[in-house]
């Protein structure tokens, strides 16, 4: 049995209604759970980028990416291993204002490149961008204070090698 690993799948697409459904159906068909997903405009006008994170074997991800790639409105689909990309995710933590001047929290923020993004009478919000593990660590540290809310984004990633999407659009 081939070992499963974490893959980041980047899919460049036209910006059309319903495409998410079409792409996620391909994961669904093979019973693959999507760990995280982000959709945003890309560096090219009118071209969107989906970033999926999944944990599967490489044989499987190659087949899935082939099937994503062949969808009419997909410009190009790629998969990357962890060492082929620079990736980040963002998280926000909402805590009660009673801990605002807690020194331990202040220190944690400095250490972890986290920022205060909102302060009100009743709560304050910490934002942090980093690797999943960094976010996990901060989460563990802040949990004891009673998190009022916690939310994290899906992964976004930049590849180390160039992805020549504009050229693809020109030649096709």
């Amino acid at each position: 049995m081939e070992e499963k690993q974490k893959f980041t799948v980047s899919v460049y697409t036209e910006n059309n209604v319903g495409l998410l459904n079409r792409l996620s159906a391909i994961f669904l068909k093979r019973h693959i759970n999507i760990e995280s997903m982000t959709v945003s405009p890309s560096e090219i006008d009118h071209v969107h980028r989906f970033t999926f994170v999944v944990i599967v074997s490489e044989t499987l991800i190659r087949k899935v990416v082939g099937q994503l790639d062949k969808q009419i409105e997909v410009v190009k689909a790629y998969y990357h291993k962890e060492d082929e990309i620079i990736y980040q995710e963002t998280a926000m933590f909402k805590l009660s204002t009673e801990f605002l001047y807690d020194e331990k929290i202040q220190n944690k923020l400095k250490l972890r490149r986290a920022h205060m993004v909102a302060i009100t009478k009743s709560f304050f919000v910490i934002e942090m961008t980093g690797l999943k593990e960094d976010v996990d660590r901060l989460y563990d540290r802040l949990k004891p204070y009673g998190l009022m809310q916690f939310v994290r984004s899906g992964r976004i990633a930049i590849t180390r090698t160039p992805m020549a999407i504009s050229e693809l659009l020109k030649t096709s």
Binding site: R22, K63, G66, K70, E73, V75, S172
Partner: protein, 577 residues
């Protein structure tokens, strides 16, 4: 036809007066050369049907008795003509009734454009009467789909729909049009779609791969070809024949590839797969180079992948890059339309001779004949066999007929024993295995090639899944010949129960109605035969008829399909009994 289209387009493009979205739909279809469509009207598609009324002379609409009948008819039409099949249905249940046919067309790469009506755009998402999210429902089973909410979108989207449906690896496209978009007005101008920037219909041909494949073929001692429907879809029959004749390589068909090469060709060594022929299945595991052409290594073809052709180098000629290495790891993938890649490889291949190797196939064929085929085609025991019915049909049609088969035992008998001399002569639901496919598909096929004999071979189970389409025959007077092979069982499931489930015949016994009376009720001449002595005359009578004809043949219940590769077994472990 090409020039006619140009005239239509020219006429259209000089006009700038506004027309309704519904009328625009019809004009788009005419510009695409559509003159036959299947469908069923209803509330949300009424504007389009109303527009159709004015164009009856140019665009003939066939009213089926169920939307599933409409889409299977369009599939039958598309499969025998190579043109895009056209279907109309209304919103809600009309649209959902198409889903089985859409899935069937997707898995068998059949070009279709389905236009469904939808509730008005202001009602979308409100659970309005006959509203269903057909875009969401059809997404996994369409090559592309799109919901039109504004009349101005119609020409561009329909042009895209036709281009996508028929280009590259063909498939079904669904265009959902809200009622307000049908009523809305637009300045009509039609331009055919010739490319889409995010879509490459045919991958770029790599000459290095062609040369590498040629080298491997030239040095092979025991090469073997398995071809699929890609030959037919790519209209590569002539190129394929030149290729096998020059290389002298034995070739076997998949179910869907049947009729691409005439059955009697000396290099045609039968059909691969679960109920295919003995020799090509066994020798798959003895060849040294396996050349797969326009096929996708379906599990019904390969049996257990762990033991499939492991000794062989694999060359895969394929138009869809996502099929390469999907099921079987290839050594060389030659991407592209097989019509081009096969033509391209010809100068690089040597004239070959594989007489001894071909002889291996003949030896195993003889074993299959002795143990299975002769008993099937010329049985001496009482009880009619499906094989003998096919044999007698062959005798009468000389391989000229289009055989449309349903799904089950009779399908496998039809695929195994029907003789073909012309391409696009075998129409069946291969990938999806849709019971109920054959009757409506045969109607569409006959309309596509009215000068050819079209014979539907159907079981008593599948026949009753779309039996209502006898009404379409009554209304259109389409001269399709229907043969129901009746064993009063869901035969294929019964066979599996006999072999693998201790003969526990759970829900496979059929108590059937008087089919002859039913056919006669629809104005179709009909007879039932249960004696061997009457069979030849009955088939002759059916084929002599200029009209539709229904023939029921009562088959022995224990008639099983062999050879057989049990699920999970290797192709070389194919059983003869």
């Amino acid at each position: 036809m090409e020039t006619l289209n140009k005239v239509i387009i020219n006429q259209i493009s000089t006009k700038v007066e506004k027309i309704s979205g519904a009328e625009a739909v019809i004009k788009c279809l005419l510009a695409e050369g559509v003159n036959l469509a299947y469908g069923y009207p209803g509330g949300a598609i009424m504007p389009i049907y109303d527009a159709l009324y004015n164009y009856q002379n140019q665009l003939h609409h066939v009213l089926t008795r169920h939307e599933q009948g409409a889409i299977h008819a369009a599939q039958g039409f598309a499969r025998v003509t190579g043109k895009v099949g056209m279907v109309f249905a209304t919103s809600g249940p009309g649209a959902t009734n198409l889903v089985t046919g859409i899935a069937d067309a997707q898995i068998d790469s059949t070009p279709l454009v389905c236009i469904t009506g939808q509730v008005s755009s202001h009602l979308l998402g409100s659970d309005a009467f006959q509203e269903t999210d057909i875009i969401g429902i059809s997404t996994p089973v369409t090559k592309w789909n799109y919901q039109i909410t504004r009349a101005e979108e119609i020409p561009e989207i329909i042009a895209k729909a036709f281009y996508i449906a028929k280009s590259g690896r063909p498939g079904p496209v669904l265009v959902d049009i809200t009622k307000d978009a049908q009523f809305g007005e637009l300045e009509f101008e039609y331009k055919k779609c010739e490319k889409i920037r995010s879509y490459r219909a045919v991958p770029k041909l790599e000459i290095e791969k062609v040369k590498a494949a040629a080298e491997m073929i030239n040095s092979a001692k025991k090469p073997f070809i398995v071809w699929g429907q890609g030959i037919i879809i790519g209209q590569a029959e002539a190129e394929f024949k030149s290729f096998i004749e020059k290389t002298d390589i034995p070739a076997a068909s998949t179910v869907l590839g049947l009729s691409a090469l005439e059955t009697s060709h000396p290099l045609h060594v039968g059909m691969v797969g679960m109920h295919g022929n003995y020799a090509p299945n066994v020798l798959t595991n003895q060849c040294d180079v396996l050349i797969a052409i326009g096929m996708r290594f379906d599990d019904r073809v390969t049996g257990n992948l762990q033991t499939y052709a492991k000794q062989a180098k694999i060359i895969h000629f394929e138009i869809d890059p996502s099929e390469v290495d999907k099921n079987v790891k290839t050594d060389i993938a030659v991407l592209g339309n097989v019509k081009e890649t096969l033509a391209e490889i010809m100068p690089f291949i040597n004239r070959g001779s594989h007489k001894n190797w071909l002889n291996e196939f003949h030896k195993l064929l003889q074993i299959e004949k002795d143990e299975v085929i002769n008993n099937q085609l010329n049985p001496t025991k009482p009880g009619l066999t499906m094989g003998e019915v096919l044999n007698l049909i062959n005798n009468e049609t000389k391989g000229n007929a289009v055989i449309v088969s349903d799904v089950g035992q009779h399908q496998m008998f039809a695929c195994r024993y029907a003789n073909f001399i012309k391409t696009r002569s075998s129409v069946t639901s291969g990938g999806l295995g849709t019971m109920g496919f054959a009757l409506p598909a045969a109607i569409g096929a006959k309309m596509g090639v009215p000068n050819r004999e079209v014979i539907a071979i159907i079981g008593d189970g599948g026949f009753q899944m779309t039996i209502q389409e006898l009404g379409t025959i009554l209304q259109t007077e389409v001269a399709v010949k229907i043969v129901v092979l009746n064993n009063s069982f869901l035969g294929m499931v019964r066979q599996w129960q006999e072999l693998f489930f201790d003969k526990r015949y759970a829900s496979t016994v059929m108590k059937n109605p008087n089919f002859v009376k039913i056919a006669e009720g629809y104005g179709i001449e009909a007879q039932s035969v249960s004696q061997r002595a009457d069979l030849t005359t009955a088939i002759k009578t059916m084929l002599a008829s200029k009209k539709a004809y229904f023939l029921e043949v009562m088959i022995a219940q224990e008639d099983n399909v062999f050879p057989m590769i049990p699920t999970g077994a290797s192709v070389s472990d194919i059983r003869l009994s």
